[in-house]
């Protein structure tokens, strides 16, 4: 594969992070682009995290949690599904390709499925190529600390 791209994964601790561990234990080879951030639950994922990550310069964002009905916290992934689905539809409105963001469900036992998810998503991001940058300054500001999104798109 060509030069690595920046892919950020937000994974719930109980299922998908465990699935990624299972994939590792099983030595299921995967592309190296993805960096995983561990979350307690997919329900903890604020859609703004995804936006901020994409605007901050990531080429793709992957969210993965427990299969619906199978959440460690009973219903976190239902909240996640609603929020993330809305986000996905919203992305084109602000000019971000929908393909740069996916959410999936992978359980802790599904190492092989995780390998497949990572490989497919990474290929998808490589097919889209690097995201268009919004200018170094604005990007730096988007990266800058705090939870509010202050992006001057004109920059």
């Amino acid at each position: 594969m060509d030069k690595e791209l920046r892919i950020v994964g937000f994974l719930c601790n109980w299922c998908s992070y465990g699935g990624a561990d299972t994939a590792g234990v099983g030595r299921f080879t995967q592309p190296t682009d993805l960096r995983i951030i561990r979350m307690p639950c997919s329900g903890r994922i604020d859609p703004l995290f995804v936006l901020k990550t994409l605007i901050g310069g990531a080429d793709g964002v992957l969210v993965s949690g427990c299969h619906p009905r199978d959440c460690h916290y009973a219903e976190g992934n239902y909240y996640a599904r609603r929020r993330l689905e809305v986000l996905k539809r919203f992305l084109p409105i602000i000019g971000i390709d929908q393909g740069r963001f996916e959410y999936t469900w992978v359980s802790a036992s599904e190492g092989q499925r995780w390998q497949h998810v990572v490989t497919t998503f990474t290929n998808q991001i490589h097919a889209l190529g690097p995201i268009q940058r919004i200018g170094k300054d604005a990007q730096a500001r988007a990266c800058a600390f705090g939870r509010t999104l202050e992006v001057d798109v004109s920059a």
Partner: protein, 657 residues
């Protein structure tokens, strides 16, 4: 803040494909990193001592260990850090083994990725704050779900340990599959003779309350304080007065009711006690077969019952029980083998399952222990056993080995010869798997002493020919086709998680795999725990296993519960949500989304504010992403901490660009 970074070689597990020295070098340049080094085995005693020494020597405020998954050694290192006098939450882990070294071979790319992960962990740690657990008291009662041999063992061990035990069994008797077996391998001793006394112990133990014919409806709460709603299903017999005399069974006119206990090889009466040694020994009415329920006429049992126990109006009853821990021992079911068209898909009466054959062998079974084939009641002279039906077969979605079929097939072949000395048995097998004490010797006995013909190869077809079943298969050792004219064909059907396991797992908030087995906390080191504190596993509910292993796990689960209850107070995980009163506008959206009801209203200077009940909060953070004010923050996973990780990663990209 002064942060220390320790990059683990894990022998060659990490160092083989990640340049750990370079990662440690790079860490030294990261903001707030005061010390960084690589270490051979961070989790070993010298490794941990090294971390403690560095904390003390360099006056570190926080530690990042880059090694394996936090799901494995997170708690280990938190204890290490605490031993050095730091707050255990001033610690972060970068997973450079499972997520880096084991999944990619490119050392350059791996080293870059590992460096990024360390950078992210450092950035998060810089935002960490010390957290302190609070204590809460626990209810020292335990609930065991499933009354098979594993659940029975767990219940008895807990009860002997002085705990109050509730045993919930969905059928009308405990005993599970073992109660259906005739003899058990490898000793060929009578199954009910060794199980029976244990079942009686359950009935008589003062610490055990048995809920038979009951199911768990809802589970609320958390470790130490669970509330369980149990549905006691109607039996239409008052069990308080029923003496189990069986008079009703003798007189019931509906004699053709399906007999689940006998695996449907026999018939039973609509009101019945499943078998003579049943515990509790009480009658119940099978509504679907009962003439009274179907037509309104009959009512014979009510007339005959000497104890006047029959109650056609009885309703399901709901009971709520408080317990501190739960042991799940719901066992297994045989997979639905009728997907095998080549074996007749259930159409031929003389092709039966292994469990049905156990009932035919059993002296308490429908044929009184005489092997009679279902079609015409004749004694079979040639019996063919087919192994791995629904095991090790990807094509039906059952790729795993059930593990006990090789053994029970050998047992059944031996018992066949004992019952019918002039009979012949054939076993079609793929491999013989007999790793247990005296197990290999046992299968050899079946071959050598009992003359069972073992044929290595799959059966391609079973079909009727006259009054026989023609079994056609391959002998892969001889390299030929074989055909056997059998009187009876017994399928060694593989096991899957008990029906309803996924639904139960959802109620207990534990994980299960695609075969319906519950997931243990760690495949090697936490075989009894689940990822939900206070919920433990025993027996085949966790994966197929034989009786000795089921019993061992039952005892292990009991030991875990006794260990948990050895304390009067538990410490709650302080990674809970916290409200910033100044930001909170009192909209209570957080309370609406919290699945645990952990958020309550609080009056604060005449205004409504949200407040988190620490011991109830499970730390999911759903509330945090709900609150638009950013007022409620899940500690250790705050917005700032998560965004710090994102920023650390993207900034390194900015620097490169």
């Amino acid at each position: 803040m002064k942060i220390g970074v320790f990059v683990c070689h894990c022998g060659s597990n990490i160092a083989g494909t990640v340049d750990v020295v370079r990662v440690a070098e790079a860490a030294k340049a990261m903001p707030e990193v005061a010390f960084a080094s690589d270490t051979m085995y961070a989790c070993s005693e010298p490794g941990q001592d090294g971390i403690i020494q560095a904390i003390k020597d360099k006056g570190l405020d926080g530690v990042v260990v880059a090694s394996c998954t936090p799901r494995m050694h997170g708690p280990t290192f938190m204890r290490t850090v605490a031993r050095a006098g730091l707050n255990p939450y001033m610690f972060e882990m970068a997973n450079i083994r499972e997520h880096v070294s084991w999944i990619g071979k490119d050392k350059e790319a791996n080293t870059r990725k590992a460096t990024d992960l360390v950078k992210m962990a450092v950035a998060k740690l810089a935002q960490n704050r010390p957290l302190f657990p609070s204590s809460f008291s626990i209810n020292k009662r335990v609930m065991v779900i499933g009354g098979g041999v594993a659940g029975i063992q767990a219940a008895l061990d807990c009860a002997e340990g002085g705990l109050e035990v509730l045993l919930v069994e969905k059928t009308t008797t405990i005993g599970g599959k073992m109660a259906k077996l005739d003899k058990t391998f490898p000793t060929v001793d009578c199954s009910s003779c060794i199980l029976g006394p244990k079942m009686v112990d359950v009935a008589q133990h003062p610490n055990i309350t048995l809920y038979a014919n009951s199911e768990v409806e809802e589970v609320f709460g958390y470790v130490g304080n669970y509330q369980v709603e149990i549905r006691k299903k109607a039996t239409y017999v008052d069990w308080k007065t029923c003496t189990g005399c069986g008079a009703c069974m003798e007189k019931c006119p509906s004699k053709k009711s399906p007999d689940a206990f006998n695996e449907h090889v026999g018939r039973t009466t609509a009101i019945n006690i499943p078998f003579p040694q049943a515990i509790p020994k009480k009658a119940s009415i099978d509504r679907d077969s009962c003439t009274k329920f179907k037509t309104g006429k009959c009512g014979v049992c009510a007339k005959i019952c000497p104890a006047k126990s029959i109650d056609y109006e009885q309703q399901d009853e709901m009971v709520t029980e408080d317990v501190g821990a739960i042991i799940c021992a719901t066992g297994y079911d045989l997979m639905d083998w009728t997907v095998y068209g080549e074996y007749g898909a259930g159409r031929y009466p003389d092709v039966i399952t292994s469990l049905q054959y156990e009932r035919l062998l059993s002296a308490s079974g429908p044929t009184g222990g005489h092997i009679k084939r279902p079609s015409d009641g004749k004694e079979p002279k040639t019996v063919v056993f087919i192994q791995c039906v629904g095991s090790r077969d990807k094509s039906v979605g059952r790729p795993y080995c059930t593990g006990f079929c090789c053994m029970y097939t050998a047992k059944q072949a031996i018992l066949t010869k004992d019952h019918i000395p002039d009979s012949e048995s054939y076993v079609f097998y793929m491999d013989i798997r007999a790793p247990g004490k005296m197990y290999d010797e046992f299968t050899r006995r079946a071959m050598e002493e009992y003359g069972t013909q073992y044929v290595r190869g799959r059966v391609s077809m079973v079909y009727p020919k006259g009054d026989k079943m023609l079994v056609r298969g391959a002998d892969t050792l001889a390299g030929t086709q074989v055909e056997v004219e059998a009187d009876l064909v017994v399928l060694a059907v593989g096991a899957e998680g008990a029906k309803g396991s996924p639904q139960l797992a959802e109620k207990l908030r534990i994980s299960y795999d695609s075969y319906g087995f519950f997931m243990e906390g760690h495949p090697k080191l936490k075989p009894v725990e689940t990822n939900t504190a206070g919920v433990y596993l025993a027996g085949c509910s966790q994966g197929p296993k034989d009786i000795p292993s089921s019993v061992a796990q039952g005892s292990a689960a009991a030991a875990k519960v006794l260990g948990l209850f050895a304390k009067d107070q538990l410490q709650s995980d302080p990674q809970v949500s916290k409200v910033d009163i100044k930001r909170c506008v009192g909209c209570m959206k957080c309370a609406m989304t919290c699945p645990f009801g952990a958020i309550k209203e609080l009056e604060h200077r005449g205004e409504i504010k949200a407040q988190v009940i620490e011991t109830v909060c499970q730390g999911c953070g759903i509330c945090t992403s709900t609150c638009r004010q950013g007022a409620i923050q899940l500690q250790n996973f705050t917005d700032n901490q998560i965004l710090a990780e994102v920023n650390a990663l993207l900034q390194s990209e900015l620097e490169e660009a």
